[in-house]
């Protein structure tokens, strides 16, 4: 099976998921005054109380990690595509791919750890 088909298919799928998750992000974080979604402590979505409330819910931890994952994959694969159009030598292409994979996995790991840490900290003592 050719890799390009696989990577491109996942790129498109990630884009579709991103549309949904970013839509949710927009509604919660930037339209709080109008929609007032998932913000039981006032209309300011980024207030400490509302943030901690969301951090305490496993649903939001999972959506944070999912948003991070699909965003990183979609963005970094797109970046790789653009860089490859510079007609790089094969060795450089492999190096770019490896670098982006390491960067992506690293940022995903960091972000997942941060999301999980926030979740557990709030549950331990910072209930919203």
């Amino acid at each position: 099976m050719s890799n390009q088909t696989k990577y491109w298919t996942w790129h498109m799928a990630a884009g579709v998921v991103l549309l949904f998750l970013l839509g949710l992000h927009m509604l919660i974080m930037h339209m709080g005054g109008t929609v007032h979604l998932f913000a039981p402590h006032g209309t300011d979505a980024v207030s400490m109380a509302n943030s901690q409330w969301r951090d305490s819910k496993i649903f939001f931890t999972i959506t944070y990690v999912l948003l991070l994952g699909v965003g990183l994959y979609h963005g970094l694969y797109g970046l790789r595509t653009i860089l490859f159009e510079l007609t790089l030598k094969p060795a450089l292409e492999n190096a770019v791919t490896a670098l982006l994979v390491i960067l992506g996995l690293g940022l995903f790991g960091l972000g997942t750890w941060a999301a999980w840490a926030a979740h557990t900290i709030v549950l331990a003592g910072g209930r919203g």
């Binding site: 890799n3 298919t9 159009e85 007609t87």
Partner: protein, 276 residues
């Protein structure tokens, strides 16, 4: 309105380049008397016959079917024989060789790279050799099955789509609209069984997924092939195949001897136009 019989002087700004004598291409201007209906190809002939016999370009059929006279006219890749001068401008036009190709001389591009890419997609029916070589019988193909790929057969390999493609302008390894359209033409042909072979070519680096759907190839195609559509259909086919959602349409059968083809039900025939 009667056609004008008075020739109009049109400036032809033509890109010239002789690799044996010139360091780089330059523009040479010719004043050409143009009558209604004259094509750019006619204008070039006039220049060669009356002003500059050294001007070089490719042409053959002069009727838009051979694809030889593809060139950049007023910034757009098109066929010189298909382009009327007075439809472009009343004063001046620019004529240059097709971009995205090396120039052999003047308006003659080196199309070998395009034909090599075309050959690499195996643009012929791939099927059991014994069946293909058996002279008895014929492959049955319905009008609907023909319709699925007919549009893509109109390609005359002129190279205009390749010249217009912005991806090809930056990435020479990209197969390009014409080879990918040829690939999809055979994928959609019900007589062909070569998808499993061609999908490796189509999905490799420089294949269909390097296309960003700029659409310039379809805009400039002089035959209405719509290579952009062909490439998107190809991407869809590849993705559905990867997800195991592709339809398992069987390739068409070979029918031996008369009488084995099915008649279309409820066939109607045109009314007779003469009595008797």
């Amino acid at each position: 309105m009667a056609e004008s019989k008075t020739a109009k002087q049109i400036q032809f700004h033509v890109t010239r380049f002789n690799p044996e004598t010139d360091a780089k291409p330059f523009i040479q201007t010719y004043a050409v008397p143009v009558l209604d209906g004259m094509t750019v190809l006619d204008g070039l002939h006039w220049i060669k016959e009356n002003l500059d016999p050294t001007l070089v370009w490719r042409y053959s059929c002069r009727m838009g079917i051979c694809g030889s006279c593809g060139m950049l006219i007023n910034g757009s890749p098109t066929l010189a024989c298909n382009t009327q001068i007075l439809h472009l401008s009343g004063s001046a036009i620019t004529v240059a060789p097709l971009p995205n190709f090396e120039i052999i001389r003047d308006l003659v591009p080196d199309l070998l790279s395009m034909f090599d890419k075309h050959a690499s997609v195996q643009p012929h029916i791939l099927r059991d050799a014994a069946e293909l070589n058996d002279s008895k019988g014929e492959f049955y193909q319905s009008p609907e099955e023909l319709e699925a790929y007919l549009q893509f057969t109109y390609c005359i390999k002129c190279g205009c789509c390749m010249a217009a493609c912005p991806t090809l302008a930056t990435d020479v390894r990209y197969l390009g609209p014409m080879p990918l359209t040829a690939l999809e033409r055979y994928n959609e042909d019900s007589r062909d069984e070569g998808f499993q072979v061609r999908k490796e070519i189509a999905a490799a680096h420089g294949g269909a997924f390097s296309c960003h759907y700029a659409g310039e190839c379809s805009r400039v195609c002089p035959k209405g092939v719509d290579p952009g559509k062909a490439i998107q259909l190809l991407k869809r086919k590849l993705v559905l195949d990867y997800l195991h959602l592709a339809s398992r349409a069987k390739t068409c059968k070979k029918l031996d001897g008369p009488g084995e083809g099915k008649l279309l039900p409820n066939m109607t025939f045109p009314a007779r136009t003469i009595p008797g």
